[in-house]
Amino acid sequence: MRWYALAIYVFLYLPIVLIVFFSFNSGRYAMDWQGFSFQWYGRAFANRFAMQALATSLEVGLWTAALSTVIGTLTAIGLERTRGWPRRLFDGLIYVAIMVPGVVIGIATLIAFVTLFGALNPLLAHLFGPDGPQLAMGRATVVGAHVLFNLAVVTLIVRARLAGLDRSLIEASEDLYATPLGTFRQVVLPLLTPAILAGFLLSFTFSFEDFIIAFFVAGPNNTLPIYIFSSIRRGITPEINAIGTVVLIVSLTLLITAQFLLRSRDRAVAGKG
């Protein structure tokens, strides 16, 4: 039994260890160890296309995280004040947004955007002339499609935390004549902060790692996962491992932090949870 468990852990970690290990390979092929070197990191950071893709991914990730966190938090608070069918409707939509596979979300948003832009662009050209602004697929459309999924996730996380809040704290604040806004800012918001931060980090990581949705709606822009995918198609070099190692470090650090923030709720003031 122990040995079986050990074997599974090796199975789980070996692939990740291999990516990191061969990123330090001095040879040209990913699995053919020639000696230790940092050269592929140097090449990756000097690679204009990779860096452009990284910048796009960071920008898309930050926008996605910011918007999802704000909207998801508002939604969680709004749902806390809602009963009956509107609440059930939102619950249903949140589950649909999470359960519909990424490939379908990608397709659906692609054709919806293309249809919408196809209808609006002639109007824009009419209003502003042929050199005026035109709508096109790009970073904004990726952010839109990413926010859809992540606002659902943030709503669930913040709502779980809200449900675990100790009501007596809010009542105490109200008894002490705090205005509702004051209660929110001074009591509720600080208690929600770990969940909100965790939601931010989770959304950023999802967006930073997502390939399939961006593949459909990114238009001519490459995000880092799209860049990695097309590099793999062209041939495997340790440069992919080097970029991959950077991605792994970024996303694992953020996710472990997020998890830590979510765990801390057990130790925090939250009562009934």
Binding site: M1, R2, A5, I8, F11, L12, L14, P15, I16, I19, A30, M31, I71, G72, L74, T75, I77, G78, E80, R81, F90, L93, A97, M99, V100, P101, V103, V104, I105, I107, A108, I111, A112, V114, G144, A145, L148, L151, V153, L156, I157, L162, E174, P180, T183, F184, T205, F211, I212, F215, F216, I228, F229, I232, I236, G244, V247, S251, L252, I256
Partner: protein, 294 residues
């Protein structure tokens, strides 16, 4: 001014308006980026392909009647996704059992965290790693040292199955672990006190009581496998392709959007049918909902 999170002002006129304002942005997103696009997909699925690719308005069932043209993708998905789910469950169960029953409580949390951490790493990179392991410089190169030559592992069903098990194992381990952890250990003692052999205790007590966890994990893994793209794309190399790969091809290469729309509707229909079946037959009357991600 009434503001957020006050529970007491519920029902007051101002409270209603605030609630509506709080929910407005999410409503806009769900409407514009979920419901409207899904509606557009449904409309497109009855249309025709424009000569240059894209959509021509029409009303015909041709796209649906033609689904068999991509029959291989459906066949691969509907055989390999259940097989992958089954393998995942078989690999996950002993580990979940070990974690819930055998592992010492001191290191249990650590071991559980270690299960989930690789799952957080980008799926693209984890599957890329298997491309390295199964590729010609990986396991086949090692095997050629012991005389097994020219073994081709990538671009096979085997590679896709390995990727599927690897990709979703943590998602299977957790629900099984939870169901085994809930299990009252005194039942196991009672069973052995009554003279049951360990295997009999396992088959008659432990296994039946943990089937709910197996079912939940299987549903999650199955649903995600149905929409899979990266694993067959990288490890199946165009030879073993899923519905997701057919969709990418239809939308981005051959640009037959109406037909692609019909394929995605068929995919969603199969997924919904499996969720409903699961709810009816596995969760039964308990009225529990699988809590997907949280």
């Amino acid at each position: 001014m009434t503001a957020a999170a006050g529970t007491r002002d519920e029902g007051r006129g101002g409270g209603r308006a605030t609630t509506a304002l709080l929910l407005a942005p999410a409503s806009a997103f769900f409407l514009l980026l979920l419901l409207l696009p899904l509606a557009v997909v449904i409309v497109y699925s009855f249309g025709e392909r424009a000569p240059a690719g894209g959509y021509l308005p029409a009303f015909s069932f041709d796209n649906y009647l033609n689904l068999a043209a991509r029959g291989q993708a459906f066949l691969n998905t509907l055989t390999l996704a259940p097989l992958g789910t089954l393998l995942c469950a078989l690999v996950a169960y002993p580990l979940a059992y070990f974690l819930a029953v055998r592992a010492s409580p001191r290191i249990r949390t650590l071991l559980l965290v270690l299960v989930i951490v690789p799952f957080w790493a980008s799926q693209l990179l984890r599957i890329y790693a298997w491309l390295l392991i199964l590729g010609s410089k990986g396991i086949p190169a090692l095997l050629s040292l012991v005389g097994i030559e020219d073994l081709l592992l990538v671009n096979t069903r085997f590679a896709v199955l390995v990727g599927m098990v690897y990709g979703y194992l943590p998602l299977m381990i957790f629900p099984i672990y939870v169901s085994l952890e809930k299990l009252d250990k005194r039942l196991l003692e009672a069973s052995s006190d009554l003279g049951a052999r360990p295997w009999r205790t396992f088959l008659q007590v432990t296994l039946p009581m943990s089937l709910e966890g197996v079912a939940t994990g299987s549903l999650l893994v199955f649903i995600l496998l149905m929409g899979e793209f990266i694993i067959p794309a990288l490890l199946g190399g165009g030879k073993v392709f899923f519905i997701g790969n057919a969709l990418v091809d239809l939308f981005l290469q051959s640009r037959n959007w109406p037909y692609g729309a019909a394929v995605s509707i068929a995919l969603i229909a199969i997924m919904l049918a499996s969720i409903v079946t699961y709810m009816r037959f596995v969760l039964g009357k308990r009225g529990q909902r699988p809590n997907a991600f949280m």
